[in-house]
Amino acid sequence: MSMEAITDKHGVKRYLITLNVNGDSYTKVVKGNTVLVNVLRDDLDLTGTKKGCELGDCGSCTVLMDGKPVNSCLVLAVEADGREITTIEGLAQHEQLDRLQDSFVNHAAVQCGYCTPGMIMSAKALLSKNPDPTEQEVREAIAGNLCRCTGYVNIVKAVLAAAKAEGGAAR
């Protein structure tokens, strides 16, 4: 499969990519070295996804790609072509927050808030795969998301409570 490329007068190639972000399809022209997080933030104005270390250590840029959490700072935009991306903006339905978002608010799991979007995306992926996780499983799922304020206790509580609430709704 080859990708359509446009070369400008300086010899820089740009590629046409199509991303499905939060259910909407976007076609964008990107350079080969553009990373996904910059397309989301700069081109699509989806600034809920944060940039921290930009080296894949901190997890603040976590988004779901085809349902799996990945660090969007280490995914080239051209490699996300044709993939389904979910960002923090894709969780709330109109004015209705996602159960996880509600739970984070109710459990004071947000302090400065910088890690929160990534943290919630990792938790979202966990609950989609495992609706009734143990505390250990929650801790493992968010191990790639660093929080330097709250110390994880309330974050873990929030995820467990959201799982419980979701299970309750299903029953």
Partner: protein
């Protein structure tokens, strides 16, 4: 890759290559992505060759693979404890080998299990035993025009195997030492054993002398301690922020003993 030679770099998951490029440690002119080669993502048992792991299988693909869960659960466990979930969804088994970081987690266990890798170029393909693949930190026998396409674990007589990454945190930590063992037990005699150590030498190494100490002798706690001591003596670690040379050697002693005990009594775990 023939066309670009040393100016090009293969991109698989990108968790290592892209972060190195961002830090200015790597500056290839051209990245060649393998991402669309779906056939290199598969993990399957080939009756003629053994268990085949496509180079593009991610760490989570390894952890969740039914074939590996049945045959080498130890490999699933190893993959499951690498890095963090985001990196496990992106980083690949092939990348973990090609990057050749001395503390990498997959090489010791794959070496203990006798794995080989397939290197392919336009000129053909060749098979290299994994224990002969690494030549130094971030250096391997792979030529610039070659691509690592698969990892093959040949069928073998091992009754048990395991790996322990001893890190300073449970997640996202590099190994202070990594100890992998594979044993073929017959009653209380160990007929065959392979011990591979990570993070204690410029490349992953086999502890050949320690293996000989264990072979064909009745397994006792005392013997395992002797094997551990021998393995510690064969390692050549550096002192750095994660631990001193002496500490690492002592941890090799401890974890070689413990991992042997585990693989002998619990199988592939």
């Amino acid at each position: 890759m023939d066309q670009f030679g040393a100016r090009g770099k293969v991109l698989a998951g990108g968790t290592d290559v892209l972060s190195m490029m961002k830090q200015g440690l790597l500056a290839p002119e051209v990245l060649v992505s393998l991402k669309n080669l779906a056939e290199l993502k598969q993990i399957y048992a080939d009756p003629a060759r053994g268990v085949v792991i496509g180079a593009l299988a991610t760490h989570n693909d390894l952890a969740d693979s039914p074939v590996l869960q049945e045959r080498y659960l130890s490999l699933c466990q190893t993959a499951h404890h690498m890095a963090n979930n985001q990196v496990r969804n992106t980083g690949t088994a092939g990348g973990n080998l090609v990057n050749a970081v001395p503390s990498a987690d997959l090489p010791p266990l794959l070496i203990a299990l006798g794995a080989a890798v397939t290197l392919v170029s336009t000129g053909g393909s060749r098979t290299v035993k994994l224990e002969e693949f690494f030549t130094g930190p971030r250096m391997t026998v792979k030529k610039d025009n070659e691509i690592l396409t698969e990892i093959v674990i040949p069928d073998n007589s091992f009754t048990g195997s395991t790996y322990h990454k001893f890190g300073l945190r449970r997640s996202g930590a590099l190994a202070v030492v990594g100890v992998a063992v594979a044993v073929a037990m017959e009653g209380d005699l160990c007929r065959d054993v392979r011990i591979a150590l990570g993070a204690v030498a410029p490349t992953p190494i086999r502890a050949f002398k320690a293996e000989e100490v264990l072979k064909n002798r009745p397994v006792t706690d005392q013997l395992l301690e002797e094997v551990g001591r021998c393995a510690a003596g064969e390692s050549n670690p550096i002192s750095d922020i994660r631990g001193s040379k002496e500490y690492r050697q002592d941890m090799i002693r401890v974890f070689t003993r413990r991992m042997l005990k585990k693989a002998i009594s619990e199988g592939h775990v």
